[in-house]
Amino acid sequence: MKVKVISRSEDEFTRERSQDLQRVFRNFDPSLRTQEKATEYVRALNAAKVEKIFARPFMGAMDGHIDAVSCMAKNPNHLKGIFSGSMDGDIRLWDIASRQTVCQFPGHQGAVRGLTASTDGRILISCGTDCTVRLWNVPVASIMESDDLSDNSAKPLAVYVWKNAFWAVDHQWDGDLFATAGAQVDIWDRNRSAPVNSFEWGHDTVVSVRFNPGEPNVLATSASDRSITLYDLRMSSPARKLIMKTKTNSISWNPMEPMNFTAANEDCNCYSYDARKLDEAKCVHRDHVSAVMDIDFSPTGREFVTGSYDRTVRIFQYNGGHSREVYHTKRMQRVFCVKFSCDATYVISGSDDTNLRLWKAKASEQLGVLLPRERKKQEYLEAVKNRYKHLPEVKRIVRHRHLPKPIYKATALRRTMTEAERRKEERKKAHSAPGSMPTEPLRKRRIIKEVE
């Protein structure tokens, strides 16, 4: 006779260490658990609420400048360092961790309009309205050694005086070149005193320039003639120009998708383009209520941050039509520059009120070391929330943001205006011959033409 007995190996239920968790055996038969969906829904709801409660994105302000912060540059090799230039010609290196100035770079006579650092983080390049390009040595010293304020100002490695004022500068990724924008686009070698190449296409001032980090020989500029221009250094020639209805203030390439870039436009929107198909934007990111001044992609390539003249900083998904997050404080004025930190965890904004502000990229993220169980739990809550985010209750909580009154009103006004426009268009169409007024999607509507 065979006797059936339960046999279990001891390994299954003994712990290796006393700190280990006891193993719990569960029967995963779904018929035994009929309430699991309800449970998870409640969890999602609670997670959404908790997230809202813990959403405290503002980390701190860095004050020290005595004029508006006009530009910033992150140190690609050093997480804590960020450079900022102000309208009075002051350049500072900040230690984000302690939120203090590490070093100052005096020298510019006018406003500093462009800042960038080389990929190895050794050299800082600045340019401004005083028609100079200055190269600086970035001190390796940490905050500890620069306690005495007397010697924390650096001297420039080189000063190149040029013919015209500069508006922007950007350094090539992993190379020696950098590009300045002003009356024309100049390509400089770090080791030469004059530009190695310069491009002029049209006669308008170029206001921003950005190298493609994935494809280091491609760069994009935007000019005051409402154009976005692509250049290819391998062919040492401009490649294509796109003219929109309004000026583009800044451009940022997606570091994970070298063909895509997003342009921060004067018309409150951001437009994501594929550099190969400029006849239509890939995505239009709407939500700002005033001109978008600066844009910077997260190093993950999945989201980007924008700073706007409406005194808010917003974070968008790379393919999201509306912002994921909006940051504002009572004291923050027009935002002129924004940067995503190199580890995609923080956002730094520089504004008219002479301060740099440090924000968390995820408003309710818990900083510091997370234990594995804690991390797993948070991942689970995030997943559950993500799953039920379409249901009205969760959606309401997740989407709710408090906005300053002026912005709220401006949003409403804009909505009314676009709605009115749409209605008018509809009526026009209804009263004209069929097919004579084709509907143009928003993605195309703002583009005037593509110039070869």
């Binding site: 998870e40 690609p76 290819d232 062919m235 020639s237 550099a275 190969r276 249901l391």
Partner: protein, 902 residues
């Protein structure tokens, strides 16, 4: 470079004769060296010569050419080689056919002139193998004829060997020759052909041997035949435009190479940025080696540690370390002295303690103890902390005592002494025993300092006494108290001695008798109290009955408590007495102890009695005495004293029932009543039984004679004869239907509205109103028909919208999903750790982007990705909650499958 070439060309033009010869040689060579890639360069050079000469060459007379040919024989070595090549070549018809046109094309500027030097023939070289070469040519031509059959070649066939080439060339480029002349006339021509630009021919050259080459070549020739005017250079704008276009195309192409990589990243359920992180130093040793001393202490330590001698000693066997370990003699001495002193001090202390322990004098110890106590008490007084501690200690002792009853003669010693009898003991032992008991009482006594709520009884009573009340109030209080006491005494009577003499039957009988008597008396006394109380109340009624009653009640409660306590005490006393009936001392002690308490408890009782005496004309002495006795007399007798005093009070009242009503029945009274009850119960029981029997009897008697089994339906019908369920249900359903699909309101004319004249009234309701009503009715009918329970007669299916359920539904289909089913599928399976095995939870919950804060993320780096490779989502596979817009349906289905696999 170009200059040089031109020069060379001019030179060659000078010696045209030689060039002519070379041409011949070249022709043969070209005919033979077909696939000879190595020679390609050479050919180029030669043909270049040929081209040069062509400008002037074609016009030489044949005779002259022949002479020149004779003068310039061909180099032998190369010819041989070429011959061999030719032999090889002969077999290849196709190639040959193509070769001919090559030879014929009289293009200048095709080949680099400079390199030609290599093959320049010596002036006086004799061309002996010319004929053989011609043979070759013949063959070639014939084959060419066969293969191509072009007119030019046919024409050539008849010609002589010598001038054949020239003629052929002429035939081909007869027209061109003129053009060339024209060009020569053109002054710009030199510039035109002098430059070293790459021409179309150069570009055509590599296409040799490719199919379609001949066609292409012909077209090129035709183009060249027509002398086209040079186009003016494009304007700068256009040129730049073209440049930009090219650049854009190029960069487009370059960028497109990223596509598979980007696609892979986008489609991956998760992208990881936390991998390949260089954490720097990983081992403790590595970190330690980087350590730099900063503080003074660290520096000092470091200087010692890095002392060369120490390091050396360590590196060797370590024996030298001992030598380095120097200690001064003074240090050692100091230390020894210190240790010796400590040791001696310890020893002395020990000795002293031993000595004290040995002292047997009790007085000494007592004094010692006293001293200690004194010190402790002073300390207590001085230090609140110490006092608190002391209090705690005391409390603990008390608790311990209550638990252990250590001082209650329960020890072996005490038991033995008690057994022997206290009288037999000497004075000291007795004192010790009493001391012990005293200790017990002290320890078990409730302390006032503890703020007991129980001990506040008297205080409350006192307070009540102090309360500004009327005398009558006080009197009534007293009376009630007295009453209480009496009741309590009555209650106490039910305890019967179970053992000893008193448990003997005759004693019991006597006791009973006496008890009954006492009970009677007690009742009488109670009645008296009641009456006097009533009197008081009567007098008091007008003033404040409310207060009175409340007061009375309160007092009653209090008194009751008191009484219970006292009874308890007495009981315990009794027990003590029973167990130690032989000793006199002990009970006395007990009683003494008791006495204190009881006196405290009954202080007011005395007062009561006095007042009572004054108020009611009772015989006060008796009462007073009785109460005093209750308090004072030792244990066993207390209960009976009451009965003794009872007969003296001689007034009787008939209020027995009231007393009973109070619920304080004496046991004797209870017993009969109980019995009665029992009887009653029995009666009742019997009654009910008989009743049931009766019922049974009726039933049986009714059904037995003509019982007919009714049908089920009949039975049901009979059972539910009264109520019509179906109708009720129908009514219910109708109600619900009306509620859910409300009936349209009937059109009514609002009086006064639209009634200017009587016309409207006559017409009645306006037609549109009626129509509307009709429509609404129809709609309702449709709605009712559409209901799920329209055809189900016995069912109501509610179609009310559940508001609570509404929050669990989305209003529209969420964005990435293409159909309802897909969306529902996507949230069907739970993802929590409670519902999934640990192995799959991680994958199910993984976020889209995994990164670590503090790690710099570099831009994307190019790597080859096979686009046809199935995306390896693979290790980390699992959930795919992508925000991407394409094919979400497919993805979710994938997900499902994955889950199943899991």
């Amino acid at each position: 470079m170009a200059e040089k070439k031109r020069k060379v060309r001019e030179e060659s033009q000078k010696k045209t004769g030689r060039g002519e010869k070379k041409r011949k040689q070249l022709l043969s060579r070209i005919l033979t060296t077909e696939n000879h890639k190595k020679k390609k360069n050479i050919i180029k050079k030669k043909s270049n010569h040929k081209g040069d000469r062509r400008k002037t060459g074609p016009r030489l007379p044949n005779a002259l050419r022949k002479a020149i040919d004779l003068l310039n024989p061909k180099p032998r070595e190369s010819d041989e080689e070429i011959d061999s090549d030719a032999e090889v070549q002969v077999k290849d018809v196709y190639e040959y056919e193509e070769r001919m046109p090559e030879e014929e094309s009289k293009k200048n500027r095709r080949f680099d002139h400079v390199d030609n030097l290599e093959y320049e023939l010596p002036e006086e070289f004799e061309d002996e193998d010319l004929s053989s070469e011609d043979d070759d040519d013949d063959d070639n031509v014939k084959r060419n004829d066969r293969g191509d059959g072009s007119n030019q070649v046919e024409d050539e066939e008849e010609k002589e060997n010598d001038d054949r080439h020239s003629r052929m060339v002429q035939a081909i480029i007869g027209m061109q020759g003129k053009a060339v002349e024209e060009l020569e006339a053109d002054p710009s021509r030199a510039v035109f052909d002098g430059d070293g630009h790459i021409s179309i021919q150069d570009l055509l050259e590599p296409l040799h041997g490719k199919p379609g080459y001949s066609k292409l070549r012909k077209r090129v020739q035709q183009l060249e035949k027509k002398s086209m005017p040079l186009q003016a250079p494009l304007p700068k704008v256009d040129r730049e435009k073209l440049d930009r276009k090219a650049a854009y195309e190029q960069s487009k192409k370059e960028i497109t190479k990223w596509e598979p990589l980007v696609k892979r990243n986008r489609e991956a359920p998760t992208i990881y940025f936390d991998e390949d992180v260089n954490l720097g130093f990983s081992t403790v040793g590595a970190i330690a080696s980087e350590f730099e001393p900063r503080t003074d202490f660290e520096k000092k330590i470091a200087s010692v540690m890095r002392d060369a001698q120490v390091v050396e000693a360590h590196n060797q066997d370590g024996s030298r370390l001992l030598e380095l370990n120097k200690i001064s003699i003074e240090d050692v001495k100091d230390r020894q002295n210190r240790l010796a002193k400590m040791r001696s001090l310890l020893f002395r202390h020990e000795m002293k303690a031993k000595h004290i322990k040995k002292i047997k004098s009790k007085t000494y110890h007592r004094l010692l103890k006293k001293d200690k106590m004194k010190a402790a008490s002073t300390e207590r007084q001085m230090d609140p902390e110490a006092a608190k501690e002391y209090a705690m200690k005391q409390e603990f002792k008390r608790a311990e005592e209550r638990m252990r009853l250590k001082h209650k003669n329960s020890s072996k010693w005490a038991k033995r002494i008690l057994k022997r009898g206290l009288n037999a003991q000497d004075e000291g032992t007795r004192a010790a025993i009493s001391e012990q008991l005293h200790q017990h009482t002290l320890l078990t006594r409730k302390m006032n300092s503890m703020k007991d709520s129980s001990s506040s009884d008297e205080d409350e009573d006192d307070d009540e006494d102090d309360m500004p009340g009327t005398e009558q109030d006080e009197a009534s209080k007293l009376l009630t108290k007295a009453k209480e006491k009496t009741l309590k005494v009555i209650e106490e009577e039910d305890e019967m001695p179970q053992s000893g003499v008193l448990s003997l039957p005759f004693m019991v009988r006597g006791l009973k008798k006496r008890k009954e008597a006492a009970y009677e008396e007690a009742k009488l006394v109670l009645q008296e109290y009641d009456s006097s109380l009533k009197q008081l109340e009567d007098t008091d009624e007008l003033s404040s009955p409310k207060v009175d009653t409340s007061c009375g009640r309160r007092v009653f409660g209090m008194a009751k408590k008191n009484s219970q306590e006292s009874t308890n005490k007495k009981k315990s006393d009794n027990i003590v007495n029973n167990s130690d009936s032989e000793d006199d001392l002990e009970p006395k002690e007990n009683v003494d102890v008791e006495h204190d308490k009881v006196r405290a408890l009954h202080n007011d009782a005395h007062i009561d009695c006095d007042v009572l005496r004054q108020e009611s004309g009772l015989d006060p002495d008796n009462v007073f005495k009785s109460f005093d006795d209750i308090v004072r007399d030792p244990g066993p007798k207390t209960t009976y004293e009451v009965s003794i005093f009872a007969p003296d009070s001689s007034k009787k009242m008939k209020r027995e029932k009231e007393v009973n009503g109070n619920g304080r029945k004496p046991p004797s009274a209870v017993a009969p009543s109980l019995r009665f009850q029992n009887v009653e119960e029995v009666d009742r029981d019997t009654d009910t039984e008989s009743g049931e029997e009766m019922v049974d009897g009726i039933l049986s008697s009714a059904t037995k004679p003509s019982y007919e089994l009714p049908s089920q339906a009949d039975l049901i019908h009979r059972a539910f004869a009264g109520d019509d369920v179906e109708e009720e249900f129908e009514k219910d359903k109708l109600e619900i239907l009306n509620e859910e699909v409300p009936e349209p309101e009937k059109p009514v004319l609002l009086p006064g509205w639209g009634q200017w004249t009587h016309i409207q009234q006559k017409k009645g309701l306006p037609s549109w109103m009626l129509e509307e009503h009709e429509n609404a009715k129809k709609k309702r009918g449709d709605a009712l028909k559409r209901r799920k329970d329209a055809h189900l007669k016995h069912v109501i299916i509610s179609e009310k919208i559940d508001k609570k359920a509404a929050k669990l539904h989305t209003k529209t289909l969420p964005y990435p999903y293409t159909s309802k089913e897909v969306f529902e599928q996507s949230i069907r399976m739970p993802i929590g750790p409670e519902f999934n095995p640990a192995t799959s939870v991680g994958a199910l919950n993984r976020p889209e982007v995994v990164k670590k804060s503090g790690i710099i993320i570099k831009p994307i780096k190019f790597e080859e990705v096979n686009p046809y490779d199935k995306v390896e989502e693979q290790k980390h596979s699992g959930r795919k909650q992508r925000t991407k817009n394409k094919g979400s349906g497919g993805k979710t289905i994938n997900k499902k499958i994955e889950k199943k696999v899991n």
